[in-house]
Subunit: 139 residues, 2 copies
Amino acid sequence: MSNLQKQAEEMIRRRGERVTSSRVQILAMLLAEQRAVTHHEIEERLRNTHRLDRVTLYRVLEWLNDKCFVHKVVSDDRAWRFRANTHIYPHQHAHFECMRCTTVICLDEMKVEYDRPLPAGYRSQEIELTVKGLCAECT
Amino acid sequence: MSNLQKQAEEMIRRRGERVTSSRVQILAMLLAEQRAVTHHEIEERLRNTHRLDRVTLYRVLEWLNDKCFVHKVVSDDRAWRFRANTHIYPHQHAHFECMRCTTVICLDEMKVEYDRPLPAGYRSQEIELTVKGLCAECT
DNA sequence: GCTGAATTGCAACAAAGTTGCATCTACTAT
DNA sequence: ATAGTAGATGCAACTTTGTTGCAATTCAGC
Ligand SMILES: [Mn+2]
Ligand SMILES: [Mn+2]
Ligand SMILES: [Zn+2]
Ligand SMILES: [Zn+2]
């Protein structure tokens, strides 16, 4: 069992949640990854090491998100992308989306704010900021 | 023929593009609307007055977007929403998305900026800012 | 009115995600 | 250690949103 797998298992157990092999494998994979990755990429990556139904993957990802182990981002190709949370209390941060290769990264440094007032009766709860452009590979 | 329909037809003709009844009906509908509306809502709205295949609707919406008559926004429910452009040269602006009823409005007033630097080699081309919360109806 | 290119309708397809239900498994209580 | 149970998983079927190929129709210029 790899270090990341042990770490993933420990994270889940410490929160009093049920430890299953799918959860551990998926979270470990996400912990290793710098980018935000799609359902499809995760499936591909785990194919050889771990048998996993795609519905289970959807359900585990939703569960990881609900439990704040990961967060997800939607982008222009209409697919969710997932990334392990680096902070226990995830802070709002911006994302970068490459318009050519669709890579998504988190801009953890970038605090997101806005000041202008909303129309009467509207309340803000979250802010999402996406910078689009070309990544280092695609420039 | 309503005023908006005349206006829509005139907008298309003045740009030297082919005027078709689908384009006129759809653009007129969008000109009347304050919110950003989905494919589905447009279809529903035009059902009684104008026979229209859903593929044609997709194609006309894409065409209207390409020609800058409208712009589109993707939101958490993974459906594109369309709104007629109020300025001829559309400026970047933020959007508000209601987390309960999924309504999307344009925050035309809100200029979008960001300052923090990107990772080395990354280039920014557009910025998208979405404020999420509760709309006036859902508060 | 005729003509050619652009637009439309229809059927089939595709990607991404969801639902229902039977089976299996991780944790708890004994 | 064993058994019971709530929760997790696998599988098949389904849904939603959007796309593609192609033949038939329509628009704009002559
Ligand atoms: Mn992120
Ligand atoms: Mn807008
Ligand atoms: Zn790229
Ligand atoms: Zn609302």
